[in-house]
Amino acid sequence: MTVYSFRLYVAGQTGRSQAAEANLRALCESHLPGGYELVVIDAAEQPGLAEEQRILATPAVIRLAPLPQRRVIGDLSDHQRAAYALGLPERPGPTRQGDEE
């Protein structure tokens, strides 16, 4: 099974940072239950790591694996668009049923 690996860059413990982390975790739980790893990096505390990836805007997610890498900017409040932009697989199991026409 493909393991998805994410880095979430935020700047400070702001409401926006917390929202982004919550949204990303919720997305991962529903699309990739048990099959992901997520590291949150606070650019305010570790600016060097943000420098390495040349992060300008935050929150920002980098999908490190699987390749190719993908980047998404924003607090991921729109789950459907966020899942598409991050290239997440369809949600498994019964959760999908209600969507069927």
Binding site: E51, A57, P59, V72, I73, S77
Partner: protein, 508 residues
Amino acid sequence: MNGSDMIERLATGINGFDQVALGGLPRWRTTLVTGSTGSGKTLFAVEFLARGIVRSGEPGVFVTFEETPDDLRRNWASLGFPIRQWESEGKWVFVDASADFEEAPVVGAYDFGALAARIGHAARRIGAARVVLDSLDAVFTRFAEAGVVRHELARIADSLEDAEVTSVITAERANEYDHVSRYGVEEFVLDNVIILRNVLANERRRRTVEIVKMRGAAHRTGEWLFTIDPRDGFVVIPLAFLVPPFARASQVRVSSGNTELDQMCGGGFFKDAIILLTGPSGAGKTLTCLKFLAAGLAAGERCLAFTFDESREQVRRNSAGWGIDLDSAEESDLLRVVCDYPEVASLEDHFIRIKRAIEEHKPERLVIDTLSALERIVSPRALLDFVIALGAVVRQHGITTLLTSAPAGRFTPQLTPSIAGEIASLTDATVTLRYFEYGGEVRRAIAVMQTRGSGHDQSIRQVTIDSDGMHITEPVAGIAGILSGAVSVPAQDRQADPPAPGSAQPDG
């Protein structure tokens, strides 16, 4: 809000700019520098950091949105800025915000918190005094939400002011005379705005810098010419206001190279004087210049001559004809002669070359032969600026300076009408050579005007030129209008003999 007395300045160190800004940029403030493509924005930004490091060891952060750090290091090495070395010494740090990848899609709200954190981190790490953001347009093209970008950049600008650094932000303008910047950056960098322009006028490039506003701080208004010199970089001219005029007026006299002319001037030129020599071609201007140089060389003075009319070979032949050996004087390094065609460079560049030659050669005498040749390449107004700027430089060094200028035609007695009068008013003395007709002959006359603070010969005297050089003889009596060109012989003098060459009659 009025805090004109409170605004501290940070001298940028950019050549000539701090004089226009009356001391420099407002310290701990952000200044917006805008201009169209190729107007010199990035150079201004690079120099702002580099001059700070070179002049006062002030470390700087360069936030680049457009060019990569590698490009910048390479591009500006030619100006002698060892950016890589400064980086290793902790004096220069790049924050690389250039984008060589496709910008990520946006889902939801975002801000530039990471960028702010990176800039703040870099500035703290080296104790930065100066920060540059170049250029904001690249950010606006990468993020669709212009309102968000403006807001976020404004926040960064604020945080820089809070951090007590002086910063320069560059942004593009679409047109030379239109809105300040393309993306409305001026809406948040309100206080200090500088516009760089690069326009074609008379088929020549003309670069100017204008300080549009500077928060409650005095500065010079209007557009100031600048040039981008391959060695000195960004150079704003004129520098006329650098030197208090006549601060140290010298009472020492030096020889013009012609005894009779010395007598007419009341005992020679003042050592720190600027003398304008006007006359039609063939009237003896170049001869006077050569004798002026020869007198300097004979007194062991260092001499510098710029000729814009003649080739080196012509100058050599001319001087040899008058028994002046320029070659050996040049070999001994006492003399430097520069022969240039006006068209090879812009007037600003000529100015830089002359200024540099003065600083390198350190002459006590300077000759420029002739200003009229330079007038071919610029407007009269620009030539006047040039003379003002040149005047400032030579006065600073107390150099005896001889400038020549030719009227339009051989028998047209007027000076080049445009600005000759104004140029004359900037000089200490004007020596006028003229042709006039008398008794079926063409003769030459000379007059000295407005010698500063000293008695001088008021009369118009005859001049002859023979193989020994120029001889000034007795006053031209009984003829009016030589200088104005409308020669007339008053009725009562009709019977008198025409004035003839004879011995000099100095009368102080």
